[in-house]
């Protein structure tokens, strides 16, 4: 069954280790197939990195599953083409498509390995990390358990896991996301594969951890002289990692070439527009106001109202929202009597002001408590202490009945556009519900008319009223959520990672819509995000959160141009830059974000603030900041 198409690679050093030719992959009914990948060709040299870029549904992940012969497992068919792999095991080039399952199992993990996006689910929770790596090593070699364990330990040290001796006997749930992803890499590389397929390996990780992981992959790649197929949607990461770039769209190859050519001088209009939609850090220097994305939008297709230009908020007026000393903790119970033994200090004495027509960016990594602050202001969580004043009134001092008014004026947009709409309600009803709840309109026809107006305002159509959420794409659903928020005629919208789950071009469109709405209606946004580049684009002022406390707060321009707190600097330097001629050489700082869980009675020290320049506040203990 083994094909010897093409010549046996004589020049074993630098020839292509992988050649994909005219690969087409189909799903579904053979009479009316869905073509996930069409006529894809590329080649990959030893020691090089090919980045496959594309938005969701572009076929980038499916095409890489074909390299492992896994297409039948996901219910697809290879209708055409070859995947030629120069296998050391066979000593010549083999066509992956023609190999029987048994032969494929020799290659998988051993010569072609893969790491996945979700480090939380790609390790089996009931086995220790070590035993899973040992299993992988023993599967492809004749080593004894003791030898394999020694090797596993060696690999855990190579991916720079601290305390490898302890971690080898830990279960996955005892490790953080970044540590798990390192363990995954150790497992994937333990057989010294020729090709590593990395499918969005850092998408689920924080930006500082991402920098560490990318560095490890690059370092081990040159050490093992391994080829890497790097799948990503993040242009910055691609620019940092890739030698060659392949841009895919709807199963088709759009552009393919050297990373410098593709990212700097893109030829295809799709690549151009994709790059235009990427927010770049530093692009907003010397601009004080937010700016729309200059994306090529088809004028016929644009239905979401006129374009507005951003205006500066009036800071001399009283603030719309004033948060002071806001503290939110969660209890952790344990022991026989189920007593509260620990607190999660999600938010400690957080304070800021938000003005009419202003966007305040709340930025931080996972566990920093930024969502908790948003949810507490929205009264979804009860605080332990502190005040939230909206239009001068203390929200938490009011009786329950009067608080309802604030739930009309403050609206929340969630991260997951798939989860935040009831799948069993027509979207028109979902949007109408807040109008009814607050009695904003009386008659049924008036409500329906208003909902249809809102749908059109956010770029959908009034005929979509009777559809269910599953009939819409992610970006459309987020537009529906925005319409639902607008239905209350709010003055403040809390956007909690509202665009993080969207593709970059859709993200740009939704952000443009949000900025237009702000300029049109004078809305204020509390924009919670982990993405520094997005924050830079849309915010007037920025607050940086770390371990439940604000560490720096100031005008956006100041924060990005002149960051004062070490953590802010760190966060900014970890963002991958979209500049392929400048590969980052410096080793990213090691370490994990410390835990916000503390024993009862061991409350963290609440630091004060210094005003370093007008409106720019810095935590007083910034000098003592240490990355643990």
């Amino acid at each position: 069954m083994i094909n010897t198409i093409g010549e046996v690679a004589t020049d074993a050093h630098r020839g292509p280790v992988l050649r994909v030719q005219d690969l087409s992959i189909e799903f579904g009914d053979p009479r009316a197939p869905f073509c996930a990948v069409q006529k894809l060709s590329y080649s990959l040299d030893q020691g090089k990195t090919l980045a496959i870029v594309g938005e969701s549904g572009s076929g980038k992940s499916v095409s890489s599953l074909a390299l492992l012969g896994l297409i039948p497992h996901v219910g697809g068919r290879i209708s055409q083409g070859t995947v030629l792999f120069d296998s050391p095991h066979y000593g010549h080039e083999v066509n992956i498509n023609d190999l029987p399952e048994k032969a494929l199992r020799i290659l998988r993990g051993n010569e072609i390995a893969m790491i996945f996006q979700e480090p939380m689910t790609s390790l089996n929770p009931v086995y220790t990390v070590g035993s899973q790596i040992i299993e992988a090593i023993k599967l492809h070699s004749q080593k004894t358990t003791i030898e394999a364990r020694r090797e596993a330990l060696e690999w855990l040290e190579r991916v720079r896991l601290p305390h490898a001796k302890r971690i080898i006997d830990s279960y996955p749930h005892q490790l953080s996301g970044g540590m798990r992803q390192r363990a995954m890499i150790a497992m994937a590389l333990s057989c010294r594969p020729k090709i590593l397929i990395a499918d969005e390996p850092t998408t689920a990780l924080d930006v500082t951890i991402q920098a560490q992981i990318l560095h490890i992959i690059r370092e081990l790649q040159s050490e093992l002289d391994m080829a890497v197929v790097f799948i990503s949607h993040d242009m910055g990461v691609v620019s940092e990692m890739a030698d060659d770039v392949l841009v895919m769209r709807q199963g088709l190859k759009v552009e393919y070439g050297d990373v410098k050519d593709v990212l700097v001088k893109p030829q295809h209009p799709y690549t151009k527009s994709l790059l235009a939609a990427v927010p770049r850090i530093g692009s907003m220097e010397n601009k004080t106001l937010p700016e729309r994305f200059d994306i090529v939008e088809d004028k016929q297709q644009r239905t979401d109202g006129p374009i507005y230009t951003a205006v500066a908020p009036k800071y001399e007026n009283a603030p719309l929202l004033e948060v002071a000393g806001l503290t939110t903790r969660f209890n952790i119970r344990s022991g026989l009597l189920n007593k509260v033994t620990h607190h999660v200090h999600a938010a400690e004495s957080v304070g800021f002001q938000l003005f009419k027509g202003e966007t305040l960016g709340l930025v931080g990594e996972s566990g920093s408590g930024k969502s908790t602050v948003g949810k507490t202001i929205q009264q979804l969580i009860d605080p332990v202490g502190g005040t939230v004043r909206f239009r001068g009134q203390d929200v938490f001092q009011l009786p329950k009945a009067q608080r309802k008014k604030f739930r009309q004026e403050i609206q929340y947009i969630f991260q997951d556009p798939y989860g935040s709409l009831n799948p069993r309600k027509k979207i028109g009803e979902s949007i109408a519900e807040p109008i009814r709840t607050h009695g904003l309109l009386e008659s049924k026809s008036a409500i329906e008319k208003r909902v249809k107006e809102l749908l059109e305002r956010v770029g959908l159509q009034s005929m979509h009223y009777d559809r269910y959420p599953h009939e819409f794409s992610g970006g459309q659903r987020q537009r529906i959520c925005i319409a639902r928020a607008l239905a209350c005629e709010p003055s403040l919208i809390i956007a909690d990672e509202a665009v993080s789950a969207l593709d970059v071009s859709v993200q740009a469109q939704v952000l443009n819509l949000m900025m237009d709405l702000q300029a049109e209606k004078g809305l204020s946004y509390l924009f919670i995000s982990h993405d520094m580049a997005v924050i830079e684009r849309v915010c007037h002022r920025v607050a940086v959160m770390y371990l439940g406390q604000l560490v720096e707060l100031g005008p956006r321009e100041q924060i990005f141009k002149n960051p004062q707190h070490p953590y802010t600097r760190r966060l900014l330097s970890a963002v991958p830059e979209l500049n392929p001629s400048k590969k980052r050489e410096s080793v990213p700082l090691e370490g994990e974000i410390p835990s916000a869980v503390r024993a009862v009675g061991d409350a963290p020290f609440v630091h004060g603030f210094d005003e370093v320049s007008p409106g720019h506040f810095l935590a007083q203990n910034a000098g003592n900041f240490r990355w643990v």
């Binding site: 938005e55 209009p269 799709y270 527009s273 994709l274 235009a276 939609a277 994306i295 090529v296 939008e297 088809d298 297709q301 644009r302 239905t303 929205q378 979804l380 309802k404 739930r407 009309q408 609206q411 929340y412 969630f414 991260q415 997951d416 989860g419 935040s420 709409l421 009831n422 799948p423 069993r424 309600k425 519900e433 807040p434 709840t437 607050h438 770029g459 959908l460 159509q461 979509h464 559809r467 269910y468 599953h470 009939e471 794409s473 970006g475 459309q476 959520c481 639902r484 928020a485 209350c488 593709d503 071009s505 859709v506 469109q509």
Partner: protein
Amino acid sequence: MSLSEENIILPEAAKKKRSLAKYWSFELLFGAFLTCSLGVLVLCSGLLFPDGGEAIDLRARLMEPFVSWQHILGTDSLGRDILARVITGGKISYLVGVASTLGALVLGTLVGLVAGYYRGFWDVLLMRFADIQLALPFILLAITVMAIAGPGLDRVIGLMIISQWVQYARLVRSGVLSLREREFVQAARSYGLPDAKIIFGHILPNTLGPIIILMTLNVANNILLESSLTFLGLGVDPQIPSWGGMLADGRNYVQVAWWIMVFPGLAIMLTVLGLNLMGDWLRDHLDPLGQTAK
């Protein structure tokens, strides 16, 4: 090629699928046919068989089926017409099966919704009740209740409700626990929707699927349970025909007169089959994602 990849206008095909035709399926037709035809027969049993299947004809004892037009499904040991008894007996079985299931469903769902949504005190209290309920053997409970209150149809139904609400409560509660953390529920809370509307408008519809499946299975189970109670002498009056009672009667004659047992058994089977088919269909079509879920 423009960037606006979102096809704002959905394909026409998606719209066509919304027409009525998609709601018809063999499942529904067959299930509805079975349930409706049996139901109509049972409801009209008073007209069809004015004697209620209680007329005794000792000269025609244990008559085989399909030999006489007068007793087309044969007769039992007292010469009572099997057909008349099956149809009349359906009344009791339908009543017990449906009423006890609906009762348990309503009670259990309410308990599950309250316990799951509010957590805390109510959750602990109600779920401990459920645990106690699960720990009590059904037969022991049945004997106790019947010994104190005496046998009767209402007591049978009440007993079944008491013994079965726990299943619904547990099922609903586990669904609610995950649903209440879902973002659309949080979103509803964030725009100030009252609790009752969140519970009944957002959470309940999303827990219906498994409830319906459990319900269709329970109807069948309850018909059989009623028959076991009757068999033990704890159920309804043995004089009144019921499918369970007939099964119990026929047991003694199964080697010489199979028909006494087979026809009520067949009636139970067809009822359950019809209900299950309809339940399946209902679950699929209550879910807007039903098309893909299949």
